[in-house]
Symmetry: D2
Amino acid sequence: MTTYSKDNRCRLLVQCPDGPGIVSAISTFLLEHGANIIESNQYSSDPEHGTFFMRIEFYCADLDDKRSALESDFIQLAERFSMEYRFAYHWETKRTAIFVSKDSHCLLELLWEWQSGDLETDITCVISNHDDARELVESMGIPFHHIPANKDIRQQAEAEQIRLMEEYDVDVLVLARYMQILTPDFVARFQDRIINIHHSFLPAFVGAKPYERAYERGVKLIGATSHYVTNELDEGPIIEQDIERVDHRDHVADLKKIGRKVERRVLARAVKWHLEDRVIVEDNKTIVFR
Amino acid sequence: MTTYSKDNRCRLLVQCPDGPGIVSAISTFLLEHGANIIESNQYSSDPEHGTFFMRIEFYCADLDDKRSALESDFIQLAERFSMEYRFAYHWETKRTAIFVSKDSHCLLELLWEWQSGDLETDITCVISNHDDARELVESMGIPFHHIPANKDIRQQAEAEQIRLMEEYDVDVLVLARYMQILTPDFVARFQDRIINIHHSFLPAFVGAKPYERAYERGVKLIGATSHYVTNELDEGPIIEQDIERVDHRDHVADLKKIGRKVERRVLARAVKWHLEDRVIVEDNKTIVFR
Amino acid sequence: MTTYSKDNRCRLLVQCPDGPGIVSAISTFLLEHGANIIESNQYSSDPEHGTFFMRIEFYCADLDDKRSALESDFIQLAERFSMEYRFAYHWETKRTAIFVSKDSHCLLELLWEWQSGDLETDITCVISNHDDARELVESMGIPFHHIPANKDIRQQAEAEQIRLMEEYDVDVLVLARYMQILTPDFVARFQDRIINIHHSFLPAFVGAKPYERAYERGVKLIGATSHYVTNELDEGPIIEQDIERVDHRDHVADLKKIGRKVERRVLARAVKWHLEDRVIVEDNKTIVFR
Amino acid sequence: MTTYSKDNRCRLLVQCPDGPGIVSAISTFLLEHGANIIESNQYSSDPEHGTFFMRIEFYCADLDDKRSALESDFIQLAERFSMEYRFAYHWETKRTAIFVSKDSHCLLELLWEWQSGDLETDITCVISNHDDARELVESMGIPFHHIPANKDIRQQAEAEQIRLMEEYDVDVLVLARYMQILTPDFVARFQDRIINIHHSFLPAFVGAKPYERAYERGVKLIGATSHYVTNELDEGPIIEQDIERVDHRDHVADLKKIGRKVERRVLARAVKWHLEDRVIVEDNKTIVFR
């Protein structure tokens, strides 16, 4: 679509109380700093008293040199509109860690998307409470860490996980069917940065054994939900959901097989959008600028 | 597809403990009585100790004359396999009553489908706790009955409804967004014959105000569910479900608009399948032979 | 979502060669004229040498009074960027004529959406080469005109149609399964304003009898396509498409029944988006700002 | 669903002129030979003068011992109804060869499904006109053969491929984005056993560069089609199709990325159904007993 080199691209994420003049101020600021808008999305929860959200992708020649001027000049504008904001440079590739338990289909999907160049990220490591995926992961040149985990050793497992997150300087944690509960401390440390895949169409079948319960209930569609992890089980902000049709002939094992296909495509989409800074969390919901 | 006249068509519905010889016995019986199988579906919940279900549509010349022989001869076969069964003749068109409150989109969809010849039924009457739909319904030559209903006059409203169901000799009651609770007595009287549309993807958002709660939860898909009514609110056997994609820009009013489209197509499908004897209730679930 | 009254809302549609400063100029212009942006979409076919497209919905107190100043002040800005542009005021409701032949399902869908308040339009009249839909249309208070049409009397039929379009001051012509070919003269007169529904997933099955040919080919999905009419048969810019699953049991009559459901929802969406000024034609394709 | 061991399961595939008594004869035959029907599907192209198709999955204790009696006894029945038929025993696992060119996404999907136990097959080898996939394939213990191929050396490439098909005793050839034309001789040798994935919603965009042409046409959905290969390019019997939504922002590269997801799921479904003997070719169409 464009010949603009990645090195000179950046995303500006903004949120502030809605009011007149925000778009004018931001677009004029970018113009004056020699930046061209490539893609722009905005949303206001309510034009009168709501919150305004914006995602602008722009191109700017010699961006690396201009960066500090750009950022320091923006401070005044941001103060004027009481903005929270962030410049996300293309060269600051987000660093991802994938957590997995026994089922590897979601892990595989992410690795494949990453290999195909569809995920803007460095996959720094894979962490699992089982050793099953080691060979696969290491064959792709990605470090694999087996950290046993269960209720009794949660504390020490998380301590080790946190140590690794720091060592690898991780930005995003993807729970690709990681079947362990995380403590509030752990969750708080990575707020809005832990992405989970739940194997049901939330809020249906919150908690354990959703396919078994979907079978019991006799639903005609099964789903999967990707969401940010909060301390309320399966209650975090939803990023993406999808479903697949089933019928009376499908027993629990069939639902699980069919469900695997939904889970992996839902998680892959959610992770992709997060990595492209398209997801904004507001009030336990998400705005997704697609 | 076939030139067989409707007058000589019949559906045989069977369910019995699974075991050897059932299909052989039924198909041989039909052969010996000069009946040709047009369509056949079967399902066994478990081939060893489960229940066997079958729906056969057959053609038989001079069916009206042969009917009594067919039925009396079948008794012996049915006893041998401990069958529950039913012969549904094409000429015995099911008689439907539609219940509606203020929102008329589901009513309209059913009336259109019926006018287009897609619903095998006589629509005997429309019953509403509001008078809004009268003109529309009566313009199509269908009797309309306004029966006010609320918590305080439920008993007498249902008495009047039951009287009408008897007067019109109704087989199927369709709740096309009828927003009144039915009493256990009423439900028991029409077991597996009351079809409801619930405006959510059950079991998510059981009960009142599902769109409001879907908005609160920030779901990315909204759904609708058609099910038989039981005395557990929104817990009856599910016949059909479908969904539509929404996003952060869709407020409650938008969800309702989008939801209307899902509701009407889900209810229309469920009613169609019921009328064609494609739905079998077993153990609070449905088998749908499509 | 907002309490802004409709009377003070307007959409600005812009397209121009892409280049720096366009968003800044437009948003600053609106700010200086007291207008608040409610919704904004933009797209550039190529940020370097492409065309820039924008749709802004804004609110402005006392818009009716300010209108002439707004429009005359914008001329200078438009010239600077070589813009084509249009102000579309909410009070200037588009005037629609629906053309239909025998099949009324698409007509019915549009009338119902319109009655529900989902289509921002005045339906000025329905024109048909058959008389079948008269009663339905007139019962809703809409004028119905029966204009016989076929190859031999095309000229005079179109003359009468054009006379009515002028009399009713029509902006949009919707061909809701209108099965007559239009002449190049007629099409030229209403460029990018005639919306057709074709009963196939274009470009598959261009031309006549698409369901018959879909059946012959043994496809597993059937579709419908809504597009602007051009003089290349079924080759105009596509606005919307959708599909429905079919299988080997579905004969031509079944495909037609299933297809009706796809046709009506595809046409209704396309018409809705057109009426909301969300569709821009560029180079025989459409940009749809949803 | 059942505890019946795989060793005692078999599928009987039958097709014959439709007429009275077929189901009775087959089901009685199975009963008399001690076989229990697990799953049964039937279809008649026309109950009066059409062709009858049946797929029965049955269980029979000591099937291996009874096999020859079963088959020889069936001959008489088959002759009576002029049947074509086939017994497909579960222990006769079909042997698959996968052909691939540069794009490996469809290959990967098939290998995963196979590893997960979702494909009833032995993957005997992967054949490619490029060497890229060698490491991946060999790491899974599957032989990989690099056979360069192009217009000029087609004859000798196919000779080598045929030699390998014989050596590996291959039943099914899957073209998982294999971008070489096959000669009529090659196709004839493996009639109804070569499954291709075409990267468009056939019959739209037959031939080369479908995504480029989809982009040019401005379609709003892109699709993929899996079909048996015949000597008419992209005109063979369609097994499965699916689509994904796109919009004006998606350039050719985006369509290809999105298309990859559709291609792999469509091909995986088609191959799965073929391996389970659910697909019957009739008159350049398929009957798929799902």
